[in-house]
Symmetry: C2
Subunit: 282 residues, 2 copies
Amino acid sequence: MLYVIGLGLSDETDITVKGLEAVKKSERVYLEAYTSILTVGKEKLEDYYGKEVIVADREMVESESDAILANADQVDVSFLVVGDPYGATTHTDLVIRARELGIDVQVIHNASIMNAVGACGLQLYNFGQTISIVFFTDTWRPDSFYDRIKENADLGLHTLCLLDIKVKEQSIENMARGRKIYEPPRYMTVNQAVEQLLEIEDNRDSGVCTKDHLAIGCARIGTATQQIVAGTLQELLDVDFGGPLHSLVLIGKRMHEMEAIFIRDYAVNKESFDAVVKEKYQ
Amino acid sequence: MLYVIGLGLSDETDITVKGLEAVKKSERVYLEAYTSILTVGKEKLEDYYGKEVIVADREMVESESDAILANADQVDVSFLVVGDPYGATTHTDLVIRARELGIDVQVIHNASIMNAVGACGLQLYNFGQTISIVFFTDTWRPDSFYDRIKENADLGLHTLCLLDIKVKEQSIENMARGRKIYEPPRYMTVNQAVEQLLEIEDNRDSGVCTKDHLAIGCARIGTATQQIVAGTLQELLDVDFGGPLHSLVLIGKRMHEMEAIFIRDYAVNKESFDAVVKEKYQ
């Protein structure tokens, strides 16, 4: 049996009891370690489970899935995913491959940012499609998600923006020379995301994410140090959100009064929050 | 401390280890029992936790929240919610009330249908807003969610439809006579939801959920008896999905090839699935 197990959002105790039982009876345990992170590392998980955890990077999951699945038709193998297993496309590939090989698959769900973002006070059914913002480089400044944000905004819906994570990336020079030297991991901050959004707004100019647009910066949702701050994009530029992971929610015009009451508690500046709500959200 | 704890989707072992620890140290444990259900009842949970579980119905949560919160500034109180705590507005109310009373609140997240629906093979970021379909009565046949489905469909996005649950409802006669006699619980099936959608489509006639529209019926997602069936709405009318809870996903035109491959495995009829995909989804 292949168990695909969500670990939730925070530490080793966010696994479900069912998930922990599956891990304990598994012969091999893999940890997918490139689409998200917990607040604890592999060593902590190994202590907690009482067994070895094999870190699976993107290369391994995408091109060596058969090694992960080896003899999983006869023994139990666990594949651990931060959040919920169906958060990223890459895990779907693994499930499809297991099916092709005739291996039984059991998915053990958990919280992910896709539902835990409800903690910010916005109702989940008022969100439109979710988008991902990737790090700009000098030569690559993708902005196609701007159209998605606009589609949501035109309907008055909120947009959850997932922020880029770069783990085990090579510099162009190291890649060219075939040197397996990796850059330190990078996690996009709310501030960086806002900066990029404002740059795109300057270019596209459809009024979708202007400086006075209301948004909510979220850091470490579901952990003990969770931080939620609401304000205009301009205000959020200067808020220190601390360590990763961060995400950003753009508030849609259909914001309900009840949502506004909940969120006001998180406002950088309650007066400016009230003023923007009054002027633009009613 | 008030702990608001998600129980996940299936049975007593879907609670997180962190959630279970909080329950064990709580002086009182409430179970919200009207927006969703587990596959096990209160007695099973009591056995598992080794303590009494107080069932909180809608009336109690909405009008007696102060009783639930009594002395929670001094002792630990757990409020259990099937799925994730932020799935329903009513729990937000409880958190707001606790804040007003100066009670610390810790939310312990879990899977909910909002993210676990990824199990059907559609990518979560391709979903638009989520809607709820309520039971039609002879005199009340609400269809405002049709506009929401249309908004999603116009963008090519998928729509998750949550289906109605009627727990502890009184008949009009019993209500009029003030008799606290309750009807048996009712859970909307995929078939009933499809029937209502087709009736609304007949009236509104915007081509949003016609008989040949592709959809996925989901039953008991995240449980051992999970059932996922894809087909046209016409085909899903006659599929037996078994016991609750059910939900329905309307597939948007932007369906990715990868999504289609995954879903094809669930098709009632692979030939008709392929034909509709070819005709309407490319």
